[in-house]
Symmetry: C2
DNA sequence: GATTCGTCCGGTAACGTTCCCGGAATTGAG
DNA sequence: CTCAATTCCGGGAACGTTACCGGACGAATC
């Protein structure tokens, strides 16, 4: 088996007694072929164990059947969900997915982008690390951006979560439970996601006369360790108890929860925490981390749909889609209002 | 930009004033070319924004620069880690990774395997779902199996974790803390991983005169929900407290922990739980889930290395590599021995 | 000075497929 | 019955690259 030459379309054609053009028509579901000839060819292909060479197909037709997905980290639970959503949808469209992890490094992102281009993917789905960098070479092929950099690339398709709505969900939830002025643990300040998040926070709290400057804000990477450190700084700065914290990611929120416990404080009694992601890990903590759930799989699926639309030329102008978040209530936020009522009674 | 024809190697050759053969030599780092000519060509390529067409390269040379990775689920934290390890290593070898999730479905696995083959990947890394199925078509190209199916494919490269050593680690740890006869939550019985796990368990406990039949065993899928249900059945069957449970995966162990809490029992006081995976989520529960950590990233990295070895023809006979596990102690297992000593004192 | 050798380069044929075009066979209309 | 239209098929070129072969040139050897 290992030595036998791979079967090509001419082998199939020969066995079926037709020309290779005809064989190609049968194998690519072209319309201009009779039903019986098609059947004959397919049988021959089956018998020979023929497998279409997608490299050749891509080279001749320009359709490689592959899409590129460049994200920060496939091992990060949020991005893994996005990838899975994209994968399932790509399968439906008959496309394979070339996945790369840029690891939040501008340089690796650059390298990976040239890799996917050289692989002649039909289009790219990208969460840009080098957000501010305009790159003309990116504009010349179908591309969908995912994440918060839509504003910087107004002429490109974009899909992400509706941060404004998500923040409103979280803030409203906190407010209803008596947490009027939560502390914030935000992501790296230079990232666009940060300004978008802060803008949403400002939008919500502005209506209540609270500017972000009134809020205690600490910065953190998207890791539990960094979140734990940030929470430590908050507990130092804000001696008031009870305290509420809105974290920009679940992993950060979970880290904050660990810091809380480490200080001998109780969540949710002393410190209420709400996260932003909705990953599975948040359901395992005690208490479970109440969080705004981003539509991760849907983001992956939708971005593939949009990319296919671009590829097939069905889309003339840039669209920007925000998928809405939902709140997963688990138990990391105390209800001060109810507690007060109980006390009175 | 969008309309401009893509630059090819002949454009580069023309601009550099050489033949396309020479240009190809420069671009592919071939040795038989003078330094200055190479430099000239590279400059021309740079100026034109030339990008090598890997489809064409693959088609002519037979080296597509792509590897296939077919795993059960990229959104599962364990497999995401494996994928990440593979990705990083593939990058080092200058290869891109085509990733598919079979979702534990034999049919989807079959479909994805033909997809990667049609994409003309240079080799495949596979965790087989249809474990018992011998498929001659798999034998005709470089391939590395990951997971527990090594025994069934003795003529194929295999890399996985050292289950025997991992089980010993867990069982020894339990035994040292006074849990002599733990209950087991195992995975789907038809999977090879199950028999391998049970064999390892039998091997360890056999030395103490305990056969697996003496142990309470419940079956579960690799999800927390299923683990929770299995733990419920164990608590019904085994009224004895304290109780110890060895779970075959962390997600299952975390589910078991939730079941414990739901019954009003305390972990680790009433129920000790030890997991098997070492995923990040296990560090967030209270108590953190003590677990045997499988070398997930290393599995991914090693499998890529082995695959490249096969591709380059450096490997003549099948190798089977078991990477060792280590124990992550977190707090889900009580120490009965110490407790007894304290009581005495 | 003739021969050999090594280095470097150009021309041409592949790789496996699809696309385009022309032609044969069949069908339908008048 | 004729002619046009339609359906279906075959032949060849093309996609962008590398493999192979042969030749030019200078250096080294006798």
């Amino acid at each position: 088996m290992r030595g036998s030459r791979r079967q090509t379309i001419v082998d199939v054609a020969q066995r079926a007694g037709v020309s290779k053009s005809t064989a190609a028509r049968a194998l690519s579901n072209a319309p201009e072929i009779s039903t019986e000839t098609r059947k004959k060819v397919l049988e021959a292909a089956q018998a020979l164990g023929y497998e279409r060479n997608h490299l050749a197909v891509g080279m001749r037709s320009g359709r490689s059947g592959m899409l590129g997905l460049v994200i920060p980290d496939i091992a990060n639970p949020f991005w893994a969900e996005v990838a899975r959503g994209a994968q399932d949808r790509a399968e439906i469209h008959g496309r394979a997915l070339l996945i790369f992890s840029s690891d939040w490094s501008v340089e690796r992102e650059r390298v990976h982008l040239t890799s996917v281009r050289q692989a002649r993917v039909e289009g790219i789905i990208l969460n840009r690390v080098a957000e501010r960098q305009q790159d003309s070479r990116l504009a010349d092929m179908p591309m969908v951006m995912i994440g918060s950099s839509a504003a910087l690339f107004p002429d490109m398709d974009n899909v992400g979560s509706n941060i404004e709505q998500g923040v409103r969900l979280a803030a409203e939830y906190l407010r209803n439970r008596g947490h009027l002025q939560p502390c914030l643990i935000v992501g790296p300040r230079q990232r666009l996601a940060h300004s978008r998040f802060m803008h949403a926070v400002g939008g919500y709290y502005g209506a209540y006369g609270i500017t972000p400057d009134n809020l205690i804000v600490e910065e953190s990477d998207y890791t539990p360790e960094s979140g734990e450190a940030a929470m430590g700084r908050i507990l130092d700065r804000a001696p008031k108890r009870p305290l509420a914290v809105l974290a920009v990611s679940d992993l950060i929120g979970l880290g904050a929860m660990m810091a809380t416990r480490r200080r001998g404080l109780d969540c949710p009694r002393d410190v209420s925490i709400i996260g932003f992601d909705g990953i599975q890990a948040s359901s395992f903590s005690t208490p479970g981390l109440t969080a705004v759930q981003k539509p991760s799989r849907a983001i992956g699926a939708t971005s593939v749909d949009m990319l296919i639309d671009q590829i097939e030329g069905r889309n003339d102008e840039a669209r920007s889609i925000s998928l809405s978040c939902k709140l997963i209530e688990r138990g990391s936020v105390s209800d001060l209002v109810r507690a007060a009522q109980v006390e009175v009674a």
